[in-house]
Symmetry: none
């Protein structure tokens, strides 16, 4: 089943509001096998709405419309739809009673504009809005369907979940799309594509669809089946093959994050972690603390941004700092090693680098970062070379450090490219 | 000038990615007098792209296209635009050199797919992408313009800011909107509106438009003149009045951030700062380090997430921890005070709280945060009460701590509501 979404509202076009309705509907619909093929965002303008509805009906079986149902003057969706469907408004008594109840519950007087919200098109099914005053509307039209809903996200979501999805499920035999996503870190999109070309051919030959979704410092791979959840086991098997071939690259699935994955491993091993940071400035630590319950495995950090503090609280030797410089394998390893002792943790991760825009040298150009990891068994360090954007370099360094720590915890050989 | 945006990508339609490009472009364009009248989101499908471009040209003078320029098989925008504009691809040497440099800087070999990213349409102007390998394209077409850019937000933003807006400014006479923004921290939107009601009347009477732009932990106030830059001095004067009346609330202008503002004050005073963090987990330190040149005033931090580390490296007394608990005025102040000594800094800022979702008590419910500030003259602490969203609470605590530090540096009385 093909659907289109028409989002109405100036606030979306001037960037005051992000269109999260579109992403919510996209996710919920595709999980139920309704494929949204286009999203059109327009302002509260009669002709634009009429054109958009006409064109959407040409391409889709289901047209979802959000916005423009409020009580103010600029909300014209209801009148415009009456024109399109050649019908008129009449007072809808159950909706009026519901609006009356809504205001009396809140001890607020009901205004004329609110009463007029109960005037609804004759030729449509009314979809109850339990959390607001703008009802939804279901129009049947030449074997297709248009649904109009308010733009307020929680009102739209309520109507979709309580009124629309149950009706769609009972009236249509939907084809069932099913997605699953696997997460990789350590290779850019192009390299990953080349490395896994064979695997990609296998999944495509099996009739599954593969998408590369690059995000800063990582690439998500999404497999889609057009025959629904029944192919989940098959998708899982393909993911298992990928994990098996590239264990250092594949770190998780779905909505997992690297700090969460590390947290789970640490909890299993009954171990703790801490960080000694220079260039990442606390960002690596903050990525752990972002997770509720992090105190079970994350203890704390030393943030030694200056060379003085590297010596004073990080106990790095002055001689080594002079000999090798702060951005070096030796200092990264000493920071990590000393951190284990000072913080009393099982694993300590260190970062030291030049994030830019200034401070680069021929030996250590902007974007150079050394990451160290120390456990009771060994200490190692790796050099990374990123670009010249400070913020992005920081994100990349944090993710590289996390994946290096994960590989060390799992005794994997760390690959990067 | 009317513009339309065509966003290409399945990830937007199935809700895996929220279309923040649309809101960013909406905001930036409208500030420059370019009105986005429609946003159309479609998948990487040749016919859909051709139809969308054709229809957009019927309605708008400027068509912005994002997405579908990556190196993988599903990225087809470039070829489709060649078909639409009846042109073909050729190797663009400057882009090829830039891609080569991009990979050599990162010590990564260049693949065939990357080389092919330098094959670009003959009949267009190439827009340099300084942070990625997919160049932008500017097509002139029947007196109108189409611009194609990658969908990765920071690449698209870079191309718009460095290549597109300067060209638009020089080639078109855009309507002259002029905006200036002043930044406040410490009061919610409703309270702020009530507090500054009189000032708001004054600016509205002067024919300026005022917008409240709430962001987590702060409220931006934007004044807009419809007669261009000529009213800048007047806007500055209104801002000066606001700063004078509410010095603890107003911390900066435009794109300034609180850590930057504090950095400037510290540099002037030739002083340094450090942090001792518990609940903010390094995020407060990271907010300083995000700024290039932070090492001139920011030294480092202790991140004492567990009570053990509060004692061992933060030198907080076991007795006080037992008597008052970790989330208390006494511990916040002791953390800040000891931090000054241990880190050897002029000012030390501490955080200790319960960010949630668990861990609340009747005395310190979720959202309670104590912030301490120590200077050579005095130590003080303040209690803050936020909501139940962990991520938001962390952001709020960081901003409150920064503004408290700023007020203390400037010897202002700190207000909050």
């Amino acid at each position: 089943m093909k659907a289109e979404l028409i989002s109405i509202g100036d606030e979306l076009l001037i960037g005051q509001t992000v269109n999260t309705n579109a992403s919510w509907l996209g996710k919920e619909c595709s999980q139920r096998g309704v494929r949204i093929v286009q999203v059109t965002t327009i302002s509260d303008d009669k002709q634009l709405i009429l054109d958009a509805v006409k064109q959407a009906f040409e391409r889709a079986d289901l047209v979802l419309v959000t916005g423009g149902l409020g009580p103010t003057k600029d909300d014209i969706t209801k009148h415009t739809l009456c024109e399109f469907f050649n019908t008129s408004l009449e007072m809808h008594i159950p909706t009026l009673q519901q609006i009356e109840q809504f205001f009396s519950q809140r001890n607020r007087p009901m205004l004329d504009v609110n009463i007029r919200q109960a005037e609804l098109p004759k030729d449509c099914e009314i979809l109850t809005n339990r959390v607001g005053t703008a009802a939804g509307m279901w129009f049947d039209y030449k074997g297709k369907v248009l649904i109009s809903m308010p733009g307020v996200p929680y009102e739209m979501k309520g109507i979709m979940q309580e009124e629309v999805f149950p009706r769609l499920d009972s009236r249509y035999q939907l084809k069932s799309l099913f997605h699953k996503t696997i997460l990789t870190q350590g290779m850019g999109e192009s390299f990953l594509a080349e490395s896994i070309a064979e695997w990609e051919d296998e999944v495509r030959d099996a009739g599954l669809s593969l998408a590369y979704l690059p995000a800063p410092g990582m690439v998500k791979l999404r497999l889609t089946s057009f025959e629904g959840k029944q192919r989940e086991a098959e998708i899982d098997a393909y993911f298992a093959v990928l994990k098996d071939r590239y264990p250092s690259l594949v770190f998780g699935e779905g909505e997992e994050t690297l700090p969460e994955v590390i947290g789970k491993i640490l909890l299993q091993k009954n171990q703790t972690i801490g960080t000694v940071e220079s260039c990442t400035g606390g960002g690596l630590a903050a990525s752990f603390v972002a997770n509720a319950g992090a105190s079970a495995y994350f203890s704390g950090s030393l943030l030694t941004y200056t060379n003085t503090l590297k010596q004073q609280i990080g106990k790095v030797s002055e001689e080594k700092l002079k000999e090798f410089g702060a951005v070096s394998s030796e200092i990264a390893e000493e920071m990590a090693q000393n951190g284990r002792e000072i913080l009393g943790v099982d694993m300590s991760v260190s970062t030291t680098g030049v994030l830019g825009p200034d401070g680069g040298t021929p030996e250590n150009p902007v974007g150079t970062v050394w990451i160290g990891v120390a456990t009771k068994d060994r200490t190692l360090s790796k050099r990374f070379q990123y670009g010249d954007n400070r913020e992005r370099n920081s994100q990349m360094a944090i993710l590289s450090a996390l994946n290096l720590a994960r590989c060390e915890l799992l005794e994997l050989i760390f690959e990067k490219k």
